[in-house]
């Protein structure tokens, strides 16, 4: 899915307060939107109306469970990077992004001569061997359009705070 061609609707103050109140999660109570509304001096209907609008415009990607790959046993996560022809990066990005072991894929700029990769795909597996096995599927998919690739494993998490807009 591309981000292009969709205009960003400006958020007003209440929208932003809804984002701040819910970006860490929804309350685990029978009427969560009502609880969010109470904390914001608003009404559940108003909060739901705005959240539906944010869903439609793509500001909210989705609402639901965000699984933690690592604790669910997917401990071998590799950032695979690929050098593919620029005029085919979109076609391959879509194909690779649709593979069930790839959580997301991005077209990113090269930095020649040091960095010639233009397509990134996060590959998830139970361990590094499984990631390397799955990487072979992408190698096959690209065929001769694969002009080079690497798999970068993370050796250490140096910081993980996640993205938060200030409240």
């Amino acid at each position: 899915m591309s981000d292009k061609g969709i205009t960003t609707q400006p958020l007003d103050d209440l929208d932003r307060r809804i984002v701040v109140a819910t970006q860490g999660g929804l309350p685990l109570v029978p009427e969560p939107y009502e609880q969010v509304a109470q904390a914001l001096d608003s009404t559940a209907d108003e909060v739901m109306r705005r959240m539906r609008r944010m869903l439609e415009s793509g500001i909210i990607r989705r609402i639901g469970a965000v699984p933690n790959h690592y604790t669910l046993g997917f401990k071998g996560n590799g950032m695979t990077v690929w050098d593919v022809p620029d005029d085919k990066v979109q076609e391959y990005g879509r194909k690779i992004g649709a593979l069930d072991f790839v959580s997301h894929a991005y077209h990113r700029p090269r930095h020649l001569p040091e960095w010639h990769y233009n397509l990134f795909a996060m590959v998830h597996g139970r361990d590094r061997d499984e990631v390397m096995e799955k990487t072979k599927v992408i190698v096959e998919l690209l065929g001769k359009d694969n002009r080079g690739h690497e798999v970068l494993f993370s050796s250490r998490i140096l910081k993980k705070t996640g993205m938060r807009i200030p409240g």
């Binding site: 960003t8 970006q23 860490g24 969560p32 989705r62 639901g64 050796s155 910081k159």
Partner: protein, 148 residues
């Protein structure tokens, strides 16, 4: 460990949670369990960190902010110092050491898109090393398919 109900929750509730007066009840109906059980299981999976979150997943850029993936190549003897300096920036959302010549990879999230360039310049200034800026040009995001 997780049983089949937990797995069904993870596999079927990664999106589409209702925006309605009693969303847990609605979602629980689809899973064939009670509202109370769904809430309790979500609490437990969050506690065990099997879920990192339950709720809306926002698109940072659509919120008007800037977002970029950045990489640096840091000699081993300088790595800890630079990691500390980079992490000290509140705009650095996460930072990973990776096995590569480019051995430090972090995500910058700023309040406005134009702040990305200035924070990068500050990081280069403070650390004395070049930052490779790799903002996404396009995203191929499917996402709703992680299965356990």
């Amino acid at each position: 460990m997780m049983d089949s109900v937990d797995r069904a929750i993870i596999n079927r509730l990664q999106g589409g949670f209702p925006v309605s007066d009693h969303p847990y009840r609605e979602a629980a109906d689809h899973l064939g369990i009670s509202e109370a059980e769904l809430i309790q299981r979500l609490e437990q999976m969050l506690e065990k960190r099997q879920l990192s979150r339950f709720g809306p997943l926002y698109n940072a850029e659509r919120l008007g902010g800037g977002l970029s993936l950045c990489a640096m190549s840091i000699p081993e003897e300088d790595f800890e110092r630079v990691a500390e300096q980079v992490n000290a920036f509140s705009e650095v959302a996460h930072n990973y050491a990776r096995d590569h010549r480019l051995n430090m990879w972090f995500v910058l999230a700023t309040e406005t898109p134009t702040r990305i360039e200035s924070v990068l310049a500050e990081i280069e200034d403070v650390t004395g090393y070049r930052v490779y800026n790799m903002p996404k040009k396009e995203e191929f995001f499917v996402g709703l398919k992680f299965e356990v």
